[in-house]
C-alpha cells in the first residue's frame, strides 16, 4: 500500500495549501479517534496498577508511591485455574473445528455434485442462529441424555463444551475455508484426478498443503471465539472447578464497590491476555477472518 500522501488521494485538489490543511485535519481526526478507542483500555490499565483507584484521575498513571502489582497478583490467583481450563478448552476445540471446517469445505466446494448449494445453505444458516434457540436442548443433552461428565468427573464438562464449540463452529470455519478453496484452479485438481488420485488424495496432497494461510486465519478466529465465550460455559457447566476463565471473571469483584475496580481491571487484562497476544501478533489474519 502506498504511504506517499502527495498526489494519490481522492481528496486531491489543485490548491496546495488547502490540501495541506485538509491532511492535517485528517491526521488530527484519525489520532483523536485512536485516543477515544484506547481510552477504556488505557484507563483500565492505569486503574489496575494503582493502590488507590480513586487517588488520581482514572486515566492518569499512578504516582510513584501509589504504584502496585497487588491487583494483578490477586486477580491472577483467582483466575489461574480458569485460565488453565480455558486453554484445555480452546486449543482442542479450535484445532478440531478448523480441521473439520477444512474437509467439509473441500467436500462442498471442490467436488462436483448436485444440491451442494442446498446443503451449503443449511450449513451457513447455522452461523446466524441465535444460540438462545438451542440452549435448553443443549444443556439437557449434556446433563441428562449424554452426561460425559459422569464418566470423567467434573472435567468431563470440558469435553462436552469442546464438542459443543466444535459443532457450532463448523459453519463458520467451513465458510472461511470455502472462500479460499473457491479460488483454487480447477485445472490443478483435474490434473491430479487424471493421474488417478482419489478424492482424499487430492485433499491431502493438493488442498491441505495450500491451506496454510487459511488455517492461520481460521485458527485465530476460532480461538478468539471459543476463548471469549461465556454463554455456552454458563449453561453447560456453570461456575465450578472446570469452568473457563470468562465465568470467574464475570463474577470477579461483582460484590465489591469502587474499591474493587483495581482487581476487576487486572482480571480483565489477565483473561484477555491470550487473545490480545494473538491479535497483536496476527492482526492481519484476524481482520481477514472477521471480514469473510
Amino acid at each position: 500500500m502506498a504511504t506517499d500522501s502527495s498526489d494519490t488521494s481522492v481528496f486531491d485538489v489543485s490548491n496546495l495549501s488547502r490540501m495541506g490543511y485538509s491532511r492535517i485535519l485528517l491526521y488530527a481526526t484519525v489520532v483523536a479517534l485512536v485516543l477515544l478507542y484506547l481510552l477504556p483500555i488505557e484507563t483500565g490499565l492505569m486503574t489496575s496498577l494503582k493502590s488507590d483507584a480513586l487517588g488520581s484521575l482514572p486515566y492518569f498513571p499512578p504516582g510513584p508511591s501509589g504504584f502496585t502489582f497487588v491487583h494483578w497478583s490477586d486477580a491472577f490467583s483467582q483466575l489461574a485455574s480458569g485460565l488453565i481450563n480455558s486453554f484445555i478448552l480452546a486449543i482442542p476445540a479450535t484445532v478440531l473445528s478448523a480441521f473439520i471446517g477444512s474437509i467439509t469445505a473441500y467436500g462442498l466446494t471442490n467436488l462436483t455434485w448436485r444440491y451442494k448449494a442446498a446443503f451449503l445453505t443449511l450449513f451457513i444458516a447455522g452461523i446466524f442462529i441465535p444460540y438462545q434457540a438451542v440452549l435448553i436442548p443443549l444443556s439437557q443433552f449434556w446433563a441428562i441424555y449424554f452426561p460425559i461428565h459422569n464418566l470423567f468427573g467434573t472435567y468431563g464438562q470440558l469435553i462436552e463444551l469442546i464438542i459443543s464449540h466444535v459443532a457450532y463452529g463448523i459453519p463458520i470455519t467451513l465458510l472461511l475455508f470455502r472462500t479460499y478453496y473457491k479460488d483454487i484452479p480447477t485445472e490443478m485438481l483435474e490434473a491430479a484426478e487424471l493421474d488417478g488420485a482419489s478424492a482424499f488424495g487430492i485433499y491431502r496432497r493438493i488442498i491441505l498443503p495450500l491451506s496454510g494461510p487459511m488455517f492461520a486465519v481460521t485458527l485465530i478466529y476460532q480461538f478468539t471465539q471459543v476463548w471469549n465465550d461465556l454463554l455456552f460455559a454458563l449453561v453447560i457447566m456453570g461456575p465450578g472447578p472446570a469452568s473457563p476463565v470468562t465465568i470467574p471473571l464475570a463474577q470477579l469483584g461483582a460484590s465489591l464497590t469502587n474499591v474493587g475496580f483495581g482487581i476487576r481491571m487486572a482480571g480483565a487484562f489477565i483473561a484477555a491476555f491470550p487473545t490480545l497476544l494473538v491479535y497483536i501478533m496476527f492482526g492481519d489474519q484476524f481482520a481477514e477472518g472477521v471480514a469473510t
Binding site: M1, P40, A117, F128, I136, A167, A199, N228, M265
Partner: protein
C-alpha cells in the same frame, strides 16, 4: 474463462471416465445414474459426518426446543408431551416483561447496527485516504473486537461508574455537576450499552467497508473527478452506492453480534438480571430457562421467537447471497 475450462473438463471427463480402468470409475457411474453429479459418493465422507453433527446440534436442537415450547415444563411441572399447545406464546404477548424485552431488543439491534455502520464507514473512509501508518490505525480500531464481552463489560463498568469513572470525571471537569447515571438509570442504560457495543464492533464494519472501498475500480473516482464532482458528491453518488453489498453483509453480521449481547449484559451484573431497563430477549430467555425457579417451556418459546426474528433477517440475506452466486 474458468467456466469454459470447467465445461471442457466436463466434456473431457465424460470421455476419460470410459477410458479409465481404475476402481474410481465404478462409483462415478453409480452416482451419475442417480443424477447427483460425478463426485457425489466420493464427496460424502468429507461433508456428511460434519453435516450430521452440525444438523443434530443446530436443527435437531431447534426442533427439540420447539417441542419443549409447546409443553408446560417448569421447575414444578415435568414435561408432558401429550398436551401440546401454544400457551407459552400467548402468555408471552400478555407479559409486560416480554414486551419490554422485545422493544429493547429491536432498539438495540437497529440503533447498534446503524451506528456501527456509520462509524465504521467513517473510519474506513479516513483510513482509505492513503494515510501513513494505516495498518497501525486499522489495528487499533479493530482491537476491541478481539476482546471478550466479559472483558469489555468490565472496562465499561468502570468507564460509566457514576462517582469516579472517567466519563463522569470528564463531564464534571467541563462544569456539569449532575452527570448521568449511565448504568443505573433505566431510561438511558440501553443507550450506554449500545455505545459500548459500538465501540467494540465499529472496527468490524470498518474492515468490511475498507474491503468494499478497495474493490471499487480507480477509474470510477477519476471519471467523477474529471466531471468536477466535489468530494461529498463523489462519496454520495459514486462510492456509497457501490458499498451496498458490504452494507448488507455487515448489517446481518452486526445484528447477530447484537443478539449475542447476552454475554455483555450478564457481565455487567454477574447475574441473570441485567441492569434495569436493559433486559433483552436473549437475557430474558436465559433467566427464564436457567434461573430459579425456572420456566423451561416459556424460555423455549422465547428462544423460538428469537430464532424467527433472526430468520427474518437471515433468510433474505442468504437468498441474496445465493442469487449473487456467493454460496
Amino acid at each position: 474463462m474458468i467456466e469454459q475450462l470447467r465445461d471442457t473438463y466436463r466434456k473431457l471427463t465424460g470421455n476419460t471416465d470410459d477410458l479409465r480402468t481404475d476402481g474410481g470409475t465404478a462409483t462415478e457411474r453409480t452416482s451419475s445414474r442417480f443424477d447427483m453429479g460425478p463426485d457425489f459418493l466420493r464427496s460424502l465422507p468429507f461433508w456428511l459426518p460434519p453435516f450430521l453433527v452440525m444438523g443434530f446440534f443446530v436443527y435437531g436442537a431447534i426442533g427439540w426446543n420447539f417441542l419443549v415450547s409447546l409443553t408446560d415444563y417448569n421447575s414444578f411441572v415435568p414435561p408432558t408431551y401429550s398436551h401440546l399447545d401454544f400457551e407459552m406464546y400467548t402468555r408471552a404477548f400478555s407479559d409486560p416483561t416480554f414486551i419490554a424485552a422485545t422493544k429493547n431488543t429491536f432498539v438495540l439491534l437497529v440503533v447498534f447496527t446503524v451506528f456501527c455502520l456509520l462509524v465504521g464507514l467513517g473510519l474506513a473512509i479516513l483510513i482509505d485516504q492513503k494515510i501513513r501508518f494505516e495498518n497501525t490505525f486499522r489495528t487499533i480500531y479493530l482491537l476491541p473486537m478481539s476482546l471478550s464481552f466479559v472483558v469489555t463489560a468490565q472496562f465499561w463498568l468502570w468507564m460509566y461508574n457514576y462517582s469516579d469513572g472517567p466519563i463522569n470525571v470528564i463531564i464534571r471537569g467541563i462544569g456539569i455537576q449532575n452527570p448521568p447515571h449511565w448504568i443505573s438509570d433505566p431510561s438511558i442504560v440501553l443507550g450506554s450499552v449500545i455505545l459500548a457495543l459500538v465501540w467494540q464492533f465499529s472496527g468490524y464494519a470498518m474492515v468490511v467497508y475498507l474491503a468494499g472501498l478497495r474493490a471499487i475500480p480507480n477509474d470510477h473516482f477519476e471519471a467523477a473527478r474529471v466531471d468536477g464532482a466535489s468530494t461529498y458528491r463523489l462519496y454520495r453518488r459514486v462510492v456509497i452506492p457501490q458499498l451496498k453489498g458490504a452494507t448488507i453483509s455487515a448489517s446481518v453480521v452486526l445484528m447477530v453480534f447484537g443478539l449475542k449481547a447476552f454475554d455483555f449484559l450478564y457481565s455487567l451484573t454477574g447475574s441473570y438480571y441485567p441492569p434495569k431497563g436493559s433486559d433483552i430477549l436473549a437475557t430474558m430467555m436465559v433467566r427464564q430457562a436457567f434461573g430459579s425457579p425456572n420456566n423451561t417451556a416459556y424460555a423455549a418459546a422465547i428462544g423460538i421467537m428469537l430464532f424467527l426474528l433472526a430468520l427474518v433477517v437471515i433468510a433474505p440475506y442468504l437468498t441474496y447471497q445465493y442469487k449473487r452466486g456467493e454460496l
